[in-house]
Every structure is written in C-alpha cells, then in structure tokens.
Symmetry: C2
Subunit: 110 residues, 2 copies
Amino acid sequence: MADLKNIPSAPGTRQNDEALALMCKALGHPARIRIMRHLLAVDRCICGEIVSILPLAQSTVSQHLKLLKKAGLVKGEVEGPAICYCVDKERLALFREQIADFSRQQDFRG
Amino acid sequence: MADLKNIPSAPGTRQNDEALALMCKALGHPARIRIMRHLLAVDRCICGEIVSILPLAQSTVSQHLKLLKKAGLVKGEVEGPAICYCVDKERLALFREQIADFSRQQDFRG
DNA sequence: ATAGTTTATCGTTTTTTTACGATAACGAAT
DNA sequence: ATTCGTTATCGTAAAAAAACGATAAACTAT
C-alpha cells in the first residue's frame, strides 16, 4: 500500500481516514459482524461462547476478536480463567457519528 | 472462508450481514475513503481527477472504483470519452442507517 | 504439584487484496 | 482512417487476510 498517510488532507476533511478505514475494515467481514451483534445482544460474554455460535475454529475466532480489539470496537478483560469480551460502546458511537458525518458530507466550497 | 451464509440468523437480527460487511469492506481502505470524500465534495467528477489526487496508478484507482461500485456506493456513467463518477446517495444513506441500527442494537430479549 | 479449562500465539496453507505496467477498448476530433 | 485522451482489463508480483491444528500460557481447582 502506498503511503496515503503522508498526503496533506483537504481543508474541510477529517484527518482520521486511517482510523475510519480501520474500523470499517474490522466490520468488513460477516463473522465479525456476527460477533459484534452477539456481543451487543448479550452485552458481554466469554470468547468460548462466541466460538460456539460460529462455525469457525477457536483460533480463528480469536484472530477475529484481535482485529476488533485492534480497531477499538471491542475490549476484553480477564475474568477468572476466561476472558470476557464486550463492545466498546463509546468507540462504536464514535464510529456511528463518523459514518453519519461522512455520509452527510457535502460541497461547502466558497 | 467458512459458509456463514447458511447459518440461521438470530431472531431479532437483520439478515443482511453479508451486504453490510460488503459495504464496510468497501470503505475499509484509506484510498477508498478518500475517493468517497472527494466525490462527496465535488459531487461528481471523472476518474482522471481522482487519479490526480491520489498517489496511486491509474489502474489501481480503477480497481478501487470497481470495488466501490460493486458495493453499490458509487455509480459511473459514460460522459463523452470519459466516465463520470458520483456517490449513490441513496445507498450511502441506507448504509448510514444500517450502521446506526447496528450500533444501537441492544438486548431486548423477553 | 497436578490436572482441567480457557484463550492467545505459532506455524502453515490457501485465498484475497493491493499495486503496478502494459495493453486493449471506446469515443471524440482531426 | 488516424490520432488523442480516457478508462477498463490483463498479467503479474508482493503483501495481507483467513482459516486451521497444535502448542503454549494463565488461571482454577483439586
């Protein structure tokens, strides 16, 4: 990938194209959408529960969770021997706003 | 990728995880975010203009546009010798709503 | 200490994505 | 008919993503 990070952004443009793209990419896979939906539905659960609802190996699910964490959409905390995951709702709300701003972006030149 | 398409969806869950993931994936690259922002800013422009604002080869930009078209976020129409691109605002609005619904999804069991 | 449960990481393979140059296709204008 | 400007497609190479099994790490409980 060429270095888009070093290009000056347009005046009215938000700087965080990278972060926005990262979050979009994190949601750009059906398994990860599923994971998010489940977490939103049950509020919080351990990794094993997610494994049980998806037709994927444990290691694969763990990788998906890692990506979601990297994008900031999910956070996990140790809970006894297991790890409890939940959606970072602030980040998700931020994402929703960014998408809203983005998709309402118009031409306000002059 | 395993066949997530054949898994029964949870009761309250929207069916179009695939479509939502596809649109997210389309926006999951900084170059494509840039393209969308530019199109939103200038309303409509030819492909060559987009090439000129990105540090990418013409063929690469063409591929990115192809992805955005495949996701339905962008449409292009022949205009003389060139092709004029613009954002499909209805689709983008739909996407925004899907994200809004998604990110507000809560636990309403019982 | 040992055994059991849970999850992350490693190593690997396959597939997809990203990027490029070169070429083809298409329309406009000479 | 030929040339020019514009964009898509082809072929290819390099990088990243997706998936798995096996193993390691960490914490509980016996």
